[in-house]
C-alpha cells in the first residue's frame, strides 16, 4: 500500500509539472533561429472498403466486439490471406492523387512483433517493394494559409498494410480485453520526407491530406475518429531523430512537436544533443520515452510466402484511375471564387472543407438560378455559409442536408427575394424549421401566413409614425444627438433595429434606413 501511495504522489507531482510545462509551452512557443527543426510524418489511414484487407469479412464500425471476424482475422491455423481488390483500387487512387510513382510489381512482407491484439504474431505490410514510391502534396499561401507562397512536401512511399485489433487494459486483475473487429482492416501508410519547417505547414498538410481522402471517398473518417493516426519524426540541428508514436488529433501533433522541439533545444544547450534514435509517446502533456536503440524492436521482416505479388498494367490503370478522380480541393476553390459563384475565399474554404455542405450549396445555387433570383451569388453563399451554419451553431447541431433540404431553403430565399418576408423574419423561420421538422411538410408561404411573418405594406404615414416614436424615445436621445452632430454615422443601424423591433420585423429594414437617412439630412 505504502509503495502504491508513494507512486501515486509521484505521478501527481509529475503530472502537475507536465501541465505547468505544457501551459508555458503553449503560451511562449516559437522556433529559434539557431535551432533548425526537421520534421516528417508517418500517416496511417484506414480505407473505407466494405470488406477487410486479406479476408472478405465486413469492415466494422461500432459493432459489438468480435462479431466481424473471419477465421483469418483471428489467425486460426490453416487460414490464408487473399488481397481484397477494393483496397487495392483505393490505394491506387490515393497514389495517383498524391503524384506517387506506382510500382508495376509490389509485394507483401511480414513484420514480426508480439502483441495480444495481433494474433498472427506479425503484421502483413509492404517493406521491400511498396505499392508506390515518391510523390508530393503542394501547399500554397492562398489556399492553405501557410507563410510561404508555395511549399512542397515530398512523400517517401505509400504501402498497404493491415490494422491490428484493439486492446483494452484492465489494471485491477492484470487482464487485457481484446476485440479483433479492427484486426485486418485495410490501412495505407504514407511516409513523408522531413520537409516540414514549421507548425503551419504541418497543420496545413494534415488538413489537406484529410480533405483529399474525403473527396476521394476512400477513408472512413479523420484523426479525431481514429481513422487516421500519425507518428511524427523530429530532429533539431540535424541531430538523431526522435519518433513520437500514435498521435490521434491535430492539436496532439502540434503540441507534441512544440514540446519535443523545446526539449531537444534544451538538451543541445546543455551540451547533450540527441545522438541515438529513440521512440517516444505523447501523454497529452509531454513526450515520454518508450524505446531506445538498445531496446528497439527487431521486426525480422520476411517476404510473405502466402501472398502473390501485385502485378499491374500501369499503361492501362493510370489513365483509367485518373479519369475517375473527382474535382480536387484547388479546382473546387477556383471554381467557387470565379463566375458565376463569386464566393469570397473564406466562404469557399468553408464549403470545400465540408464536402456535404458544398454539394448542398451547389444544389441551392442551381435551384435559385432556375428562378432567376437577383444577387444569386451573394444570396446563395450568404444563406448557406452564414445564416444556415449560424443557426446550426445556435442549436448546437452538425450540418446534415436532411435537417433542412436545399429545396426548402431555396423556397425561403425566393420569398425573401420577392419581399414576401423580411430578412430578419426569414432567419427566425429558418431557426423554427430546424427545430420543428413537422413544419417541413408545409410550404414557406403557408408558414409565413400561419405565423404572421409576412412583410407589411405600410403607408408612408405609418412608417413615419414608427420613426417618430423611436427618435422621440428618451433612451435614444444620446444616439440621435451624436448622429445629428455628424459623429458615428453607423449608429443609425441601432435606430433601424429599434424601428424593426417596433414593427415586429414586418417592414424591410431598407425602408427604415431610407427614411431615417433622409430625416437626418434635413
Amino acid at each position: 500500500m505504502f509503495l502504491k501511495k508513494v507512486k501515486g504522489q509521484l505521478i501527481i507531482r509529475q503530472f502537475s509539472q507536465a501541465i505547468a510545462f505544457s501551459n508555458k509551452n503553449q503560451e511562449t512557443f516559437k522556433f529559434l533561429k539557431d535551432y533548425k527543426l526537421k520534421c516528417g510524418l508517418e500517416i496511417h489511414t484506414q480505407l473505407d472498403t466494405s470488406k477487410k484487407l486479406f479476408s472478405l469479412s465486413p469492415t466494422s464500425f461500432n459493432e459489438r466486439q468480435n462479431t466481424r471476424v473471419s477465421y483469418f482475422d483471428v489467425s486460426l491455423p490453416g487460414t490464408q490471406p487473399r488481397l481484397n481488390p477494393e483496397a487495392l483500387l483505393y490505394t491506387l487512387k490515393a497514389a495517383v492523387v498524391l503524384n506517387s510513382k506506382i510500382n508495376p510489381i509490389s509485394t507483401f512482407d511480414r513484420k514480426h512483433y508480439f502483441y495480444g491484439d495481433q494474433p498472427l504474431g506479425y503484421q502483413i505490410t509492404q517493406h521491400y517493394n511498396p505499392i508506390s514510391k515518391g510523390g508530393y502534396i503542394t501547399l500554397t499561401k492562398e489556399f492553405d494559409e501557410i507563410n510561404e507562397v508555395q511549399k512542397i512536401i515530398n512523400i517517401e512511399q505509400i504501402q498497404i498494410e493491415q490494422d491490428t485489433g484493439k486492446s483494452m487494459y484492465k489494471n485491477q486483475d492484470g487482464n487485457s480485453q481484446i476485440d479483433l473487429n479492427r484486426s485486418n482492416m485495410p490501412l495505407i501508410e504514407l511516409v513523408t520526407k522531413p520537409d516540414f519547417e514549421d507548425l503551419k505547414q504541418v497543420k496545413a498538410f494534415i488538413k489537406k491530406f484529410q480533405l483529399l481522402f474525403k473527396i476521394l471517398k476512400i477513408c472512413t473518417g479523420d484523426l479525431e475518429t481514429g481513422a487516421i493516426r500519425v507518428d511524427v519524426n523530429l530532429s533539431v540541428n540535424n541531430g538523431e531523430r526522435i519518433e513520437i508514436k500514435n498521435l490521434s488529433s491535430t492539436s496532439a501533433i502540434l503540441n507534441a512537436i512544440k514540446y519535443e522541439y523545446n526539449r531537444q533545444v534544451e538538451l543541445i544547450k546543455q551540451g547533450n544533443p540527441i545522438i541515438s534514435k529513440e521512440t517516444r509517446g505523447w501523454d497529452g502533456f509531454q513526450t515520454v520515452k518508450l524505446r531506445n536503440k538498445e531496446t528497439a524492436v527487431d521486426y525480422r521482416y520476411m517476404p510473405d510466402p502466402e501472398l502473390p505479388p501485385i502485378v499491374l498494367d500501369l499503361a492501362d490503370l493510370i489513365p483509367n484511375i485518373s479519369s475517375n478522380i473527382p474535382e480536387l480541393p484547388e479546382e473546387q476553390l477556383l471554381k467557387l471564387s470565379s463566375k458565376p459563384h463569386n464566393c469570397k475565399l473564406r466562404d469557399s474554404r468553408i464549403l470545400v472543407q465540408n464536402q456535404p455542405l458544398l454539394n448542398y450549396y451547389l444544389t441551392l445555387f442551381e435551384l435559385l438560378k432556375e428562378q432567376n433570383i437577383k444577387n444569386l451569388d451573394k444570396l446563395s453563399v450568404n444563406w448557406c455559409c452564414h445564416e444556415l451554419l449560424g443557426a446550426l451553431t445556435k442549436l448546437d447541431l452538425e450540418f446534415d442536408h436532411n435537417l433542412l433540404p436545399a429545396t426548402k431553403l431555396a423556397e425561403l430565399i425566393i420569398q425573401v427575394s420577392h419581399k414576401a418576408i423580411t430578412n430578419n423574419n426569414a432567419k427566425l423561420l429558418l431557426l423554427h424549421l430546424l427545430n420543428n421538422k413537422e413544419d417541413l411538410n408545409k410550404s414557406i408561404p403557408e408558414l409565413i401566413e400561419e405565423y404572421e411573418l409576412g412583410m407589411d405594406k405600410l403607408s408612408e404615414q405609418e412608417i413615419v409614425e414608427f420613426i417618430d416614436e423611436v427618435l422621440k424615445d428618451p433612451k435614444n436621445s444620446k444616439i440621435v444627438e451624436t448622429i445629428q452632430r455628424g459623429e458615428k454615422p453607423k449608429s443609425i443601424n441601432y435606430l433601424i433595429g429599434q424601428c424593426m423591433r417596433l414593427s415586429s420585423g414586418k417592414v424591410d429594414s431598407k425602408v427604415f434606413e431610407h427614411h431615417l437617412t433622409k430625416r437626418f439630412k434635413t
Binding site: 459489438r64 466486439q65 462479431t67 487495392l88 509485394t107 487485457s176 480485453q177 517476404p303 510466402p305
Partner: protein, 167 residues
C-alpha cells in the same frame, strides 16, 4: 487422375526391382541427427545468455524462462545452438541464386498476368464475395466458442500484455 511431370533428372540408373529400391533406401548416406549434433563446429557465432533474453522478449515470452525452467543448465541455449548449426548446414548447400530473392522466396504462383483497371473492377464486382467456409459471414460462427475464457465477448490476455514484461 493424370499427373503432369514438369521436371526430370538422371541421378542413378533405373531400378530393376522392388528389392533394389528397398536396398537403396536401407543405406542412407546422411542423417538429420548428424546435422544437429555438431554444436558450434562451423566457426559461427553462438547464442549466449543476453541473446537468449533478447529472443524471448521478441517472442513475447517471459524472460524468467531462461532462469526458472532452464535450471541453469543452459538447455535452451544448447537447443538454440543446435538449431543454428542445422540452419548453417542448410545454408552451406550450394544452390542456384536468383537475382530477385524476394519474389522467388514465395511459395505461390508468381507469373501472374498484369492487372488492368477492368480486371480490378471485375474482381470487386464479381469475385470478392464473402465465403461461409472461411467464417466471413457474420453471425455464422461465434469466435468466443473457441476461447477457453472470455469476458463479455472479449478475448482475454493475461498478465497485462507486454506491459508487465517491460515493467
Amino acid at each position: 487422375m493424370l499427373a503432369k511431370r514438369n521436371y526430370s533428372a538422371k541421378v542413378i540408373s533405373k531400378f530393376q526391382s522392388v528389392v533394389e529400391i528397398k536396398d537403396f533406401l536401407s543405406k542412407p548416406e546422411w542423417k538429420v541427427s548428424s546435422l544437429l549434433d555438431q554444436v558450434n563446429n562451423t566457426g559461427t557465432k553462438s547464442i549466449d545468455q543476453s541473446q537468449l533474453i533478447k529472443l524471448l522478449q521478441l517472442s513475447g515470452l517471459s524472460t524468467k524462462i531462461s532462469r526458472d525452467d532452464d535450471g541453469g543448465n543452459g538447455e535452451l541455449i544448447k537447443s538454440l545452438n543446435n538449431q543454428i548449426n542445422f540452419i548453417n548446414h542448410l545454408h552451406s548447400i550450394k544452390i542456384f541464386e536468383s537475382k530477385n530473392y524476394n519474389i522467388d522466396s514465395r511459395i505461390i504462383r508468381q507469373d501472374l498476368p498484369a492487372l488492368k483497371y477492368g480486371d480490378i473492377i471485375e474482381q470487386i464486382n464479381n469475385c470478392a464475395k464473402p465465403d461461409l467456409l472461411k467464417g466471413e459471414i457474420p453471425k455464422n460462427w461465434d469466435p468466443m466458442k473457441l476461447a477457453s475464457e472470455n469476458e463479455d465477448g472479449y478475448y482475454i490476455v493475461k498478465e497485462g500484455l507486454i506491459k508487465d514484461e517491460k515493467n
